[in-house]
Amino acid sequence: MDEGWRARMDRMGSVPILEIRKLKVKKGAVTILNVPSFQIEEGEILSLIGPNGSGKTTLLQTLFFLLNPFQGEVFFRGKKVGLDYPVLDYRRKLALVFQEPLLFDTSVFNNVASGLKIRGIKREEIERRVEENLKRFGIEHLRDRFSKTLSGGEAQRVSLARAFAIQPDLLLLDEPFASLDPPTRESLIEDFASILQQTRTTVILATHDRLEALRLSHRLAVIKDGEILQTGPPEEVVNRPIDEWVASFVGTETILKGRVIRKEGGTFLVSVEGHEIEVVGEAMLGERVILCIRPETVTLSISTAKETTSARNLFIGRIEGIQPMGFYQKVQLYCGFPLVAYVTRPSMENLSLKVGKEVWASFKATSIHVIRQKEREKPIE
C-alpha cells in the first residue's frame, strides 16, 4: 500500500525496531514455536499468515513477554529486552489488539483512555489523545456509551482506538477482524488501512486471511507449525512460494508435479501426467519439479486457433465444476491434469461456460512458478 517506507528505511539505515534471535517456546516436551531469526523494520507493516493453530498467537504473545518462560532473545531498537531494556518499559512501547475486543466494563471514553491512565499520563493529554482516536475511528458519537451496549464492529473500533491512543512504536494485532461480519469487516479494514498510512505505525498483523494480508502489508511471513517458512514482499510470496504448502496457502490453485524431459534455451519442458508443459526458467534435465499456476493467469477460450494466443501452453479441458468466488467464478478443469482458472462474470456469459463443456485453456510459460526439488530441502543446522 505504501511504497515509501522502503526508501525511508534505506535512507535511515537504522537498527530494526524489533529483532528475534533463536526463539523457542515449548509446551511440555513439544516445541510449539521455533523462530531462529526474525526482524521488523521501523514503519513496516508485516502480516503473519498461517492457518489456525500455526503459532501466530503464540508468537505475538511471546513478543509481548506474556508467555513465560521461553528461550531466545528479543531486541528492541538494538537493546536486549529484559537486560538492557526493562520488560515493563518495553511493553509500554507496544500495543496488542486481540480478536475479541476485551473492553472494560466502563464507558468508551474510559476504555480508550485506559492504556494512558495506566501510564500515568496527564488528564489534558489523555483527553486530547482519546478525542483524537475516537475521531480517527469514527466513534466520537459513542464517547459516553457503555462498552456492553456496543455492537461487535463498534467494540473492535474502540479496542483499536485504545491501542492507537497509546501511540505505540509497534502494534501487534491478533486476527482483529476475524470475528466481524463481512460488511463491518470491510469498512473497518478500509478505515484501518488509511489510518495506518497516516500514522505510519509499525505493525505485525496475524491473520489467516491472505486477502486481508495482501491488502494491508509490505511484507508477509508465512507460519506453519510454529515455524516461519517464508518471508518476503506479498508479490514474491504469492508468485514465488517456497514450497507446495506455501503455494497452496497463498492461493495457488494448480500445483502440478512433473519431471523435466527437455531443455531448449531459456525454457524447458515438464512432463505432467503425460502432457508437456513449457516453462521459462532454470532446471536440470530429469529433475523433479513442482509447477504452480495461479488461477488468474489461466485464460479460457472456445476458439481452437493456436495463433489467437501467444501462450505456448494450450490444452483442451472439460469443466468439472464452477464456484462463485466474489468477483470471480472459479472454474475447475480437467485437461489430463487438474487446472483452475478464475473467470469474470462477463467472460462466463460470453463463453457460456457450464459444467461438462469443453474449453481451451492457456497460460504463459513465464507465469509458471517452479519449485525445484532441492530448494525444498531444508538446510541442516
Binding site: 486481540f98 475479541e100 476485551l102 466494563d105 485506559s114 495506566i118
Partner: protein, 232 residues
C-alpha cells in the same frame, strides 16, 4: 394472632420513639457486623484474587476448603473462637472474650470464606485473555489486580451482601463469644433469643422486625447499586 400484631406495633413504637436500649442494640449490631464485614472484605478479596491468579501445589485443596468454609456453622466458629480466647487459650492473654471485639473476630471468621469464595469465582469467571490484555496495555501486576477487581465489581458487591447478610443474622457465635451482656455485647440476634426465652414475645418480635428491616434496607441499597451498574 394478637401477639404478632402487638409485637409489630411495639416494634415501630420502639424504633420511632428512639428507645435508648433498642437503639444501642441496633447500633452495636451494625457496628460489629460492618466491621467484621470490612475485615472479611480485606482478607477475602486479597486471598480470593491471589488464589484465582496463581497456580500452586495444593490449590485444589485450598479451593475446596474455602468452598466448605462458605457454609461454616456459626456455632462451630463460636466454639473455636471461644476456645482460642478462653483465659487459658492460645489468645487468652488478649482478654477480649465477652467483648464486642470477640464478636467481630467470630463474625469475620464466618464472613471471610464467603467473600473469598465469591471473589475467587468472580475473578476466574473473567475471560482469561482479559488479563493478558491488561498487561499488554502496560499495566504493572498491582495495576492489573486493581483493574481485575474493578471488572468483577458486580459479583464483589454480591460478596459484600452475602458476607454482611451472613453475619448480621448469625446468633450462635455472637452469643457464645459475646455473652449477650446488656449494654455491652447485646446485639439484635442475641437480644431476640433472650426475649423469646423469657416469653417477652412482643419485644422479641419487635427486635426481629428491626433486624429484618435493616437487613432489607442494606441489601436494597447494594442491590440498587448493582442493578444500576449492571444495566449501564
Amino acid at each position: 394472632m394478637d401477639l404478632i400484631l402487638e409485637g409489630t406495633k411495639k416494634a415501630f413504637w420502639l424504633l420511632f420513639s428512639f428507645d435508648p436500649e433498642v437503639l444501642n442494640i441496633l447500633l452495636l449490631s451494625l457496628r460489629v457486623s460492618a466491621t467484621a464485614t470490612l475485615i472479611s472484605l480485606l482478607i477475602g478479596i486479597t486471598g480470593g484474587v491471589a488464589i484465582a491468579l496463581y497456580r500452586f501445589r495444593g490449590r485444589a485443596v485450598v479451593v475446596s476448603l474455602i468452598n466448605t468454609g462458605m457454609g461454616l456453622p456459626p456455632v462451630v466458629v463460636g466454639l473455636f473462637v471461644t476456645i482460642f480466647l478462653w483465659r487459658n487459650g492460645p489468645l487468652g492473654f488478649l482478654g477480649i472474650l465477652y467483648t464486642p471485639m470477640a464478636i467481630i473476630i467470630a463474625q469475620a471468621v464466618i464472613a471471610t470464606p464467603i467473600v473469598m469464595g465469591i471473589t475467587l469465582a468472580a475473578i476466574q469467571h473473567l475471560p482469561e485473555k482479559l488479563r493478558l490484555q491488561i498487561l499488554a496495555l502496560g499495566a504493572t501486576r498491582t495495576q492489573m489486580v486493581w483493574i481485575l477487581i474493578k471488572e468483577a465489581k458486580l459479583p464483589l458487591l454480591a460478596a459484600v451482601m452475602a458476607g454482611f447478610g451472613g453475619v448480621i443474622s448469625e446468633v450462635g457465635a455472637s452469643m457464645m463469644v459475646g455473652g449477650n451482656i446488656k449494654g455491652y455485647t447485646r446485639v439484635l440476634t442475641t437480644a431476640t433469643v433472650m426475649e423469646t426465652s423469657r416469653g417477652n414475645f412482643d419485644m422479641a418480635i419487635a427486635l426481629g422486625i428491626i433486624l429484618l428491616l435493616f437487613a432489607y434496607f442494606i441489601n436494597l441499597i447494594l442491590t440498587q447499586i448493582q442493578q444500576r451498574e449492571g444495566l449501564r
